[in-house]
Amino acid sequence: MTPPHRSEEALALARAEEVAPPSTLDGGPPTEPPRAEERSVRVEGAWHVLRRGLRESPELRAGLGFTVILALANAIGRLILPVLIGFTLDRGLLGPEGFRPGLVASACAVAAIVVAGVYVAGRAAYIRLVRASETALRNLRVRAFAHIHDLSIAEQTAEKRGAFVARVTADVDILGQFMEWGAISWITSGILMAGTAVLMFVYSWQLALLTLVIVAPIAFVMRVLQRGMLAAYERVRARIGETLSAVSESVMGAAVIRAYGLDRRVEVRLGGAIRRQYEAQMNANRYQATIFPIGDLFGAVATAAVVAVGVTFGADSGLTVGGLVAFLFLVAMFVDPLSELSETFDMTQSAIAGWRKVLGVLDLPVELVEPDPGRSVSAGPLSIRAEGVEFAYRDGGGPVLRGIDVEVPAGGHVAIVGETGCGKTTFAKLLCRLADPSSGRIVLGEVDLREISREARRRAVLMVPQDGFLFDTTIRENVRFGRAGAEDRDVEAAFASLDLDGWLGGLPEGLDTNAGERGEALSVGERQLVALARAQLASPECLILDEATSAVDPQTERIIAEALGRLSRGRTTLSIAHRLSTAESADSVLVFDRGKIVERGAHSELIERGGVYAALYRSWLGEVAEQVAS
């Protein structure tokens, strides 16, 4: 991301270039070229996104109006100069009456007033346009974010989550840059060029045509070079990525590299990556270097042609010295914005692509529609039942769950075991309506889960996810999230009732210990303990426990197991079991395999039956038991 002062600088440079005289100045860092995917946005698509975006953000319509005012003011402020120069030369200096100081002075005074007026109008318009676009961006951001939280998360993967974050941050930021620079640049440059062209025709239509003919190829040459430059930058980006991943491999794999003596391999890979990055940079550099003076060069040719043709044939068509000099300044003004527009073009593509992605988020259907008004569920212990539940992901890949019929009686405890990917976590998510089954239904206390109001459902069912995600705040606040309006003593009571006081006392700052980003200041096991306390505070009737698979040190493991036991006491509990103790203590066990229940029954029955579970159990515990016995 470009830091603000950089883009500010770019903006400043771009603006400063606008006041550049007959000879174009170069300068200003190039805008970040868009990626391939973004370039694939076709113009028709772009119009669609633009219309759609304006519909979503009505504030921008007002912004557009202010931008036009700004552009008109800007064009007037700039075109007044060549007119004044021409006028002064022809009427005030070289006319038949010679030097007319009074006339020159009044002309200059008028021009000065116009310049001052333009300043005032431009300032007012700009302030309003920024307000409009910033408000639009803010609203778009918040709406997209709210929408993301409304989406079903059963299907969210880490990549999708990363993409969502990008939608409400980077994509909106690019859009913001575009609105405050690119979009303005289109409109100001367009209006300025149009005004310049009109004025050129007023001075001499022949010279105006000549200029247009000479200058026209710029657009073409620029586009070709720009495309080449984009492709070159894409290669640079890819090479930078390669260097980065080579470096990151050497850093993350440092222990393995040393232990296996792989230094040569690393050296070769990195050396190659660095060299290729340099070559790609130099290739892009060639475009960078040549693309800049193109406009300048065409401007010089057009100026020369206008002088030659104007002087040779101008007198016959009544062209004056002042007119021709004014025309020369106009030629430069006309050429100037072309190179800037060419850059803006690419920025526009990135912005449109970003915009499309943000709008795409708003287009994602909210699959889980909350009932209105929803039903409530009876107080007291609740049963949960799955009836013929099937589930398949929207993006295909076949059913993940098939024909699941399960009943957990009120206050009962059912454990699910099965290999990774057998669908047990998905099933758990269906039980607390993080997604709806593709067919079949979930019934909570005799009411279809889809008919229960959001609030009632949340009071009744709580899932304790296995990743133990915590917010970057104190343990106290994290637990408080379990129940809105909980007092400090409620939080303390939650820990106490799970017998976690001792553990809490061992933390440097007790309840005020910060959990860190994602809770990573705490160990995996400690995070789970906090999540359990949070669940205890929430005190749902039904508890869905998704146990962690990751290794936890034995001491913490023991504390977790005890806290889990206390938490689930008296609640209808369904556990995704990774601990044997959990399966053993459950009333009944379900064995999932590839989305189906292949065995069910009490732990002891299943052991006797000698099926999948028994085998699993033997391998799970067998050797441990054997060793302890011997």
């Binding site: 006041v19 300043y119 974010f145 002087v311 994602r518 441990v624």
Partner: protein, 578 residues
């Protein structure tokens, strides 16, 4: 800061003086040609335009005038191309050489350095810090051009008409002043806005990553409110910046415009008195407009300097980090046959914290020993010393009777293999990950994989052994990764194999099969750091490590009976699992 920055820039340029020099040369040509262009324009007005429209100029003179305009344009373009190309080259070369240096340094530094610094920080040195340190170089030739432009233009003004030059000198420098004030003021809301963007991004990350928790706790509305608050803050800061921009930006076009208006007023009088020509006046207008730009950007010239200094200092830290591991002095090989391992009175500390204290142990050739101990007892450090990822502060580690400090690194790696709990896989195929720089045949690879109980699942993968894993490839589960990492060690037929909790994520059934296979088919001295009873019980002997020393050793059953601390550790694991 400034002097230091200049010194740093100087030292960088000194490494690549030629491209930098050429770039500066290009900048000078550009500045001269730009000012030259206005002079040509003035002359053309006087010699061609004014007399020409009266029909008093020959076609040759007209052509000459046109040619001069084009020629000056070409020279200017040439200057730009030269400057930009060679400035780019200077920057790219600097980055490449700094990057090579940083990475070489990473390779030389001890593993402890890598452990002490987060990955992100090490990556930042090799990327962001290098960019920061060198970004200041690229615009330098351009800054030179800007300064020369101002100087040349001022000279041209004074030479042509000191009187009119005075107008320029009294009005135009205001631009630089305005710009200074503007940049200083707009910087504040803009950098605050950037911080707010960081806040917003953190909230978005946290909230979306934790969507499951947010949803299960019903905190959506609270999260949206939290996000909206950050979005409001960004909007407010950016609107504040917008107001400043609205006030200042138009000044930068209004001031030169006003200067030109005054110039025309006074200039036409000067023309009428014959002090200057019409062409001179046109040249002046042109120069005034040209000057507006460099006067504005001159403030940017070294604005990246503080960033460069910070970046450079971060890199210096890497370069100055002391190297603690000396290469082997005598570069001996290890003796033939099974190898015993012996650790003699080893102490090792991590900074001020002692990790191992006067620790000694002996492992007989082809013996299997388990090392057990609570978290933080020094087990992992011990394994690192056993494969010479670090040298002990005191005492020695010997394999086959040879002090590791005297063993040739390559030969040590051939005979002693370690598998870590955190099994790192390279972003390449599984086959390459296993064979890694050995000459193992496909058969060797699959044999090793079979022993590691990885063969079956690898074959079931979409492309079998050619399946690409890691960063851009397939993500394996923790247990699968550990099995591939184990195969990587086994394919090398090590005579000493050290497993540092290397099967912790493997399913217990599979783990049992692995250990069984190792015992039956691998002739190696085996040192296993483990938690699981099933693993520990396989060992001939168990060493209990606590507080950096061996506190007990013996057979599993004996320790279980005699040593309560040992029983506590092992039982804790049982209860967890059972």
């Amino acid at each position: 800061m400034f002097a230091r920055g200049i010194r740093i820039i100087g030292s960088y340029i000194a490494q690549h003086p030629l491209p930098f020099g050429i770039a500066v040369g290009g900048a000078a040509v550009y500045a001269a040609a730009t000012v030259g262009g206005t002079i040509v324009l003035g002359r053309v007005v006087d010699e061609v335009v004014v007399p020409g429209l009266d029909g008093e100029v020959s076609a040759g003179t007209i052509a000459l005038g046109a040619l001069a305009i084009v020629a000056v344009g070409l020279v200017r373009a040439g200057g730009i191309v030269t400057r930009r190309y060679f400035a780019g080259m200077t920057g790219a070369r600097m980055q490449a050489s700094l990057r090579t240096r940083v990475i070489q340094r990473y390779g030389e530094l001890p593993l402890a350095y890598h452990r002490a610094h987060p990955t992100g920080e090490l990556l930042a040195h090799a990327q962001a810090d290098i960019d920061a340190a060198t970004d200041v170089i690229h615009p330098l030739p351009y800054s030179t051009a800007v300064i020369l432009l101002i100087v040349f233009a001022a000279v041209a003004l004074v030479v042509t008409d000191p009187f009119l030059a005075l107008i320029g000198c009294s009005i135009l420098p205001m631009l630089a002043l305005f710009n200074k004030v503007y940049v200083a003021r707009v910087e504040r809301p803009l950098s605050r806005a950037q911080e707010r963007i960081g806040d917003l991004s953190a909230v978005a990350h946290e909230s979306i990553d934790g969507a499951l928790v947010v949803k299960t706790l019903g905190r959506e509305a609270a999260e949206v409110a939290r996000f909206a608050e950050r979005a409001d803050a960004i909007r407010d800061e950016r609107m504040a910046a917008g107001r400043l921009r609205a006030t200042f930006e138009p000044v930068f076009s209004a001031v030169p415009n006003l200067a030109v208006i005054v110039l025309l007023l006074v200039g036409s009088w000067r023309v009428s008195t014959g002090a200057i020509t019409t062409g001179d006046l046109v040249q002046f207008v042109s120069l005034f407009l040209i000057l507006a730009f460099p006067l504005r950007v001159i403030g940017f010239a070294l604005s990246d300097l503080p960033r460069a200094v910070v970046g450079h200092e971060r890199l210096e830290e890497v370069f100055e980090e002391p190297l603690t591991m000396a290469p082997a002095v005598e570069a001996l090989g290890l003796p033939d046959g099974p190898l015993g391992v012996s650790v003699r009175s080893v102490s090792y500390s991590n900074g001020p914290h002692p990790v191992l204290r006067d620790l000694s142990l002996e492992v007989a050739p082809n013996e299997t020993v388990a090392i057990v101990g609570p978290t933080g007892s020094g087990k992992s450090t011990l394994t690192e010393l056993l494969v010479r990822l670090a040298d002990p502060d005191l005492g020695s580690v010997r394999i086959g009777g040879v002090d590791l400090r005297h063993v040739d690194a390559t030969r040590l790696r051939e005979d002693v293999a370690v598998v870590f709990q955190d099994s790192f896989l390279f972003a390449s195929s599984i086959r390459e990950n296993i064979e890694l720089e050995t000459e193992a045949s496909d058969r060797d690879v699959s044999r090793a994989a079979r022993l590691a109980q990885a063969d079956a699942f690898i074959r079931a993968l979409p492309a079998g052994y050619d399946t690409v894993v890691g960063e851009r490839g397939l993500t394996l589960s923790g247990g699968q990764r550990q099995r591939v990492a184990l195969a990587r060690a086994l394919v090398r037929l090590p005579r000493v194999l050290i497993l540092d909790d290397a099967t912790s994520s493997v399913d217990p059934t599979i783990e049992a099969a692995i250990l069984d296979g190792l015992r039956r088919e691998v002739a190696a001295t085996l040192i296993i750091v483990a938690y699981r009873v099933s693993t520990i019980a396989l060992a001939d002997r168990v060493l209990l490590l606590d507080g950096g020393r061996i506190v007990a050793e013996g057979r599993h059953e004996d320790l279980l009976a005699s040593h309560p601390a040992y029983a506590a550790i092992v039982r804790a694991d049982e209860r967890g699992a059972a």
